[in-house]
């Protein structure tokens, strides 16, 4: 079980309110990702759930029981930290055993769970090493192993991949997703990387300045962002947001067009611009277009092999059915 409910939870540090009262329910077995720019309060929110920070008001229920004043050790949650937070003076085996030792589990059961976790995480050969002798990826696996053996109600991940290099990050992303499919335990995952959010989450919670901007599945957020902030934050490359007369033509204060929803032609189109930088990824090309009169830069994503060079003039036509419209407050107009 791992059902977490936040009821009017708020957090202030001194006079500064970092999280205004918010409500959120995390369903049992769900992979929920908190995403937002740095300083949006996503890590603080996770730490409130963990019990590492005291909430200023409201209450937190875990599996139906009020956990507001329960210390972190007794909440039945396991956490994986950005810095891994392994115990440097203990071997990998002892690191993984630590929570079980604290819980007073019998030796035999401890050994069984360590062996299971080690084989699942490819750590069997490293059990007698110290964390200092491991690579970043291996350390992260140990941290995950230490969390798994507790058989927690939910896993909390605080930007666990941000200290890893890009290639490793993609690999670990998959491993964590597979772990979730296998264990079917609730996972709450904090990241500033919207790609991680999109690829891993069952449900994404987009935060800004401590407030929830939108909660939804990755595709809901992609297709129907509730406001211009979510529209700009979710999706890579970012959605083009255009204000002014062009938006008014569509009866909106802001219109948004995703780079992949714009057709490019060398001869005709709705708008005209000059190619700045073209990023060739092989499968796709991102073209950054200037002098369109719409925004400083208009990004277009094209597949295939249209040959464009710096300084070329090209024509752009948005796919009208994929246009997003927002009012003056930034809220979506349907």
């Amino acid at each position: 079980m791992g059902h977490i409910r936040l009821n009017q939870v708020s957090k202030s540090f001194g006079d500064v309110q970092v999280i205004p009262p918010l409500d959120l329910t995390i369903e049992d077995g769900e992979f929920t990702v908190f995403v937002g720019p740095s300083g949006c309060g996503k890590s603080t929110l996770l730490r409130l759930i963990a019990g590492l920070e005291d909430i200023t008001s409201g209450h937190i229920d875990i599996d139906g029981a009020d956990a507001t004043n329960v210390p972190p050790a007794k909440r039945g949650l396991a956490m994986v930290f950005q810095s891994y937070a392994l115990y440097p003076h203990m071997s990998v085996r002892k690191n993984i055993a630590f929570p079980m030792k604290m819980a007073g589990l019998p030796e035999a059961e401890q050994t069984r769970r360590i062996d299971n976790a080690a084989s699942a995480l490819n750590l069997t050969d490293y059990l007698d090493r110290r964390p200092g002798q491991l690579s970043g990826g291996q350390r992260q696996r140990v941290a995950i192993g230490r969390a798994i053996v507790r058989e927690p109600a939910a896993f909390l991940f605080d930007e666990p991949l941000s200290n890893l290099d890009a290639a490793l990050r993609v690999g670990m992303r998959l491993e964590i997703s597979e772990l979730h499919k296998r264990l079917k335990t609730t996972m709450v995952y904090v990241t500033h990387d919207q790609v991680e959010a999109m690829t891993m989450a069952d449900r994404i919670v987009v935060l800004r300045a401590g407030m929830i901007e939108q909660v939804g599945s990755p595709l809901e957020l992609y297709h129907t962002p509730r406001n211009a902030f979510v529209a700009g934050f979710i999706g890579s490359p970012k959605m083009n947001l255009i204000e002014g007369p062009e938006a008014q033509k569509h009866g909106a204060a802001i219109i948004g067009i995703r780079p992949e929803h714009t057709d490019v032609s060398k001869t005709e189109g709705l708008w005209k611009g000059v190619v700045g930088v073209a990023e060739h990824l092989g499968s796709d090309t991102f073209i950054h277009v200037h002098d369109t009169g719409l925004a400083d830069t208009f990004t277009v994503r094209i597949t295939g092999d249209i040959q464009v060079r710096h300084g070329d003039t090209i024509h752009l036509s948005p796919q009208m059915d994929k246009l997003h419209r927002f009012d003056a407050r930034g809220l979506r107009i349907d």
């Binding site: 050790a73 949650l77 956490m79 930290f81 115990y87 230490r146 507790r150």
Partner: protein, 276 residues
């Protein structure tokens, strides 16, 4: 050319370091040398440096006249006891200051350290009276307590500096892993802080060993440590420099040897936190 310059500079630096080192060490060296002289040579003018008749006579007389082992044992008990007790009291204090600081933590630390700036003699009278009332005057227990209190600010400050270097996330991980506060400190914090705790132990042992004001004023016969042993040779019946030097050498020898073997630990302890 550049190489020659750096080499010359290295020689100069080394010579300078040795020079300063010897200058600081000279009084101790002189004491040790004097302890091997006769009383006449000890006060001869001009002083003799090495060309004297080396003798162990002073040591013989000092050992005969005083019970060196009893003073030594008192020193060990008082210095060791006050240091260990100080660590036990200081670890929780330093933990809370390092990991759950409040707005006033810095002030409290500075205030604690400021008590070290108070002249000790200012509180001698009340402490003396308290000791009489409690019946712990001239007892090792009394000295262990008073020296522990005197050095507590330094112990807390040093441990605080070490603890601050330990990432808080590791302690949070322990909390998430179900560790109680006691287990968090015993199984995670203390093992990680072993080098720091060792340096603190060592430095405070030395400070307590060398402490003379309280040990001289609060002891008579029973609990007198080596400081009192030295003092007893600057006696009213005239100064006997050679014997005083022999007593001093015997008093500082144990701590000098301890310091020699742990100098690496001590230096790293004193400069910890200064350079990352």
């Amino acid at each position: 050319m550049a190489r020659a310059v750096t080499r010359n500079r290295k020689i100069v630096n080394t010579a300078l370091a040795w020079g300063i080192g010897l200058l600081i060490f000279f009084p101790i060296l002189w004491t040790i040398l004097t302890s091997f002289k006769t009383e006449a040579q000890a006060i001869s003018d001009p002083p003799v440096f090495l060309a004297f008749d080396w003798t162990l006579e002073n040591y013989g007389i000092v050992l005969e006249r005083s019970n060196y082992m009893r003073f030594l044992w008192n020193s060990v008990i008082i210095a060791g006891g006050s240091t260990v007790l100080g660590i036990i009291v200081a670890v929780p204090a330093a933990w809370s200051m390092a990991f759950v600081p409040s707005r006033r933590t810095k002030d409290i630390l500075l205030w604690m350290l400021s008590t070290k700036m108070l002249p000790a003699v200012g509180v001698l009278y009340p402490i003396y009276l308290i000791f009489i009332r409690l019946g712990i005057l001239d007892s090792r227990t009394g000295l262990v307590i008073v020296l522990m209190l005197m050095n507590l600010p330094i112990i807390v400050w040093m441990l605080y500096t070490y603890f601050r270097e330990i990432p808080g996330e590791i302690l949070e991980a322990a909390r998430m892993d179900g560790a109680s506060l006691k287990n968090e400190i015993v199984h995670v914090l203390m093992p990680m802080a072993v080098p720091g705790i060792a340096s603190t132990l060592l430095l405070n042992f030395i400070l307590a060993w060398n402490e003379a004001f309280w040990t001289l004023n609060l002891t008579a016969a029973n609990a007198a440590p080596l400081t009192a042993f030295i003092a007893s040779y600057s006696s009213p019946e005239g100064l006997f420099f050679a014997k005083l030097s022999a007593a001093s050498t015997m008093a500082i020898a144990p701590i000098l040897i301890l310091g020699w073997f742990s100098q690496k630990q001590l230096v790293s302890g004193l400069t910890f936190g200064a350079v990352k």
